[in-house]
């Protein structure tokens, strides 16, 4: 029997993420990207940046560390997070993100569709710094709906 899905309109309160130097470095080290732009403030300044910018996929860090309970939330809606597939990830870049930034993250559910096999959910995250949008991320998830 299918469980009732309760997808709220405003699923989570906006949350904040303080960008720290170590998370930029650690993400690049895990990827294996040793571009000094991400590690060396002096180098980054010479290149014309205010500081070492966050790499292209930094949104992941801001979401998982900024809201460690997010998947639990998704589970509360009746989504089977034990069998979830990350289907798509889409970024729109407006401004670089730097260490010291306090980034506000607002999440909304852009779309939700439930078929006999899968729940298809698109989460939209808007990241802003002092009311200026720096990044938008969309994440499409497929969960087993049976």
């Amino acid at each position: 029997m299918k469980k009732q899905k309760k997808i709220p309109e405003n699923p989570v309160e906006p949350f904040y993420f303080e960008v720290e130097r170590c998370k930029i470095k650690e993400l690049c080290m895990a990827i294996g990207d040793n571009n000094p732009l991400f590690f060396d403030t002096g180098y980054a300044r010479k290149e014309g940046y205010d500081d070492t910018p966050a790499p292209l996929t930094f949104a992941t860090v801001m979401v998982f560390w900024g809201h460690p309970g997010l998947l639990e939330k998704v589970k509360e809606w009746g989504i089977n997070t034990g069998k979830i597939l990350h289907a798509r990830e889409h970024y729109y870049y407006f401004k670089p993100v730097f260490p010291g930034d306090r980034i506000k993250c607002t999440m909304e559910i852009e779309s939700f569709r439930s078929t006999s096999a899968a729940d298809i959910i698109v989460l939209k995250f808007v990241f802003s710094r002092q009311d200026e949008i720096v990044l938008i991320a969309k994440m499409k998830l497929l969960a087993d709906s049976r």
Binding site: E26, I31, Y49, L56, T60, R88, H90, Y91, Y93
Partner: protein
């Protein structure tokens, strides 16, 4: 600040490929620690098997990160305006992966000069792991 020169690039040009690997459990632990994604299917072989997989799979976002390294290394990070991927198949321990791309279309409009590229990551057997699109702004 690195910016590509629009005039020196032709449609069909390949982006400089980047090969990595083999993917190890240590790398996945590093990725988990950095990203905060501690889903045990990336860390615990028994858990992954119980979830119906052959064994541990890599974070899809690690692959997107590797592809991102190739893109930002080529184009400069602030030139990248849009970047998206579809996750196609799992990446397993010991896989070697190569990030590749091609300039599909050059576009010049009132906002500037842009390159539309397709990008992807494949493994040592040519299996495609992720495919994506990037829009890069040029000088």
């Amino acid at each position: 600040m690195k910016k590509l020169n629009f005039n020196s690039i032709k449609e069909g040009d390949e982006l400089p490929a980047l090969t990595k690997g083999p993917i190890t459990q240590v790398q996945l632990a590093k990725y988990a620690g950095a990203s905060g994604d501690f889903n045990p299917i990336h860390l615990d072989n028994n858990y992954a098997k119980a979830a119906g997989l052959d064994g541990i799979i890599a974070h899809g976002m690690l692959l997107m990160g590797i592809l991102g390294q190739m893109i930002s290394g080529w184009a400069g990070i602030s030139a990248v305006k849009e970047y998206s991927v579809h996750f196609k198949s799992y990446t397993r321990l010991q896989d070697r992966v190569t990030a590749k791309g091609v300039v599909e279309k050059k576009e010049e409009n009132e906002k500037g000069k842009f390159l539309h590229c397709t990008v992807f990551v494949e493994d040592q057997n040519g299996e495609v792991k992720i495919t994506g699109k990037v829009i890069v702004q040029c000088m």
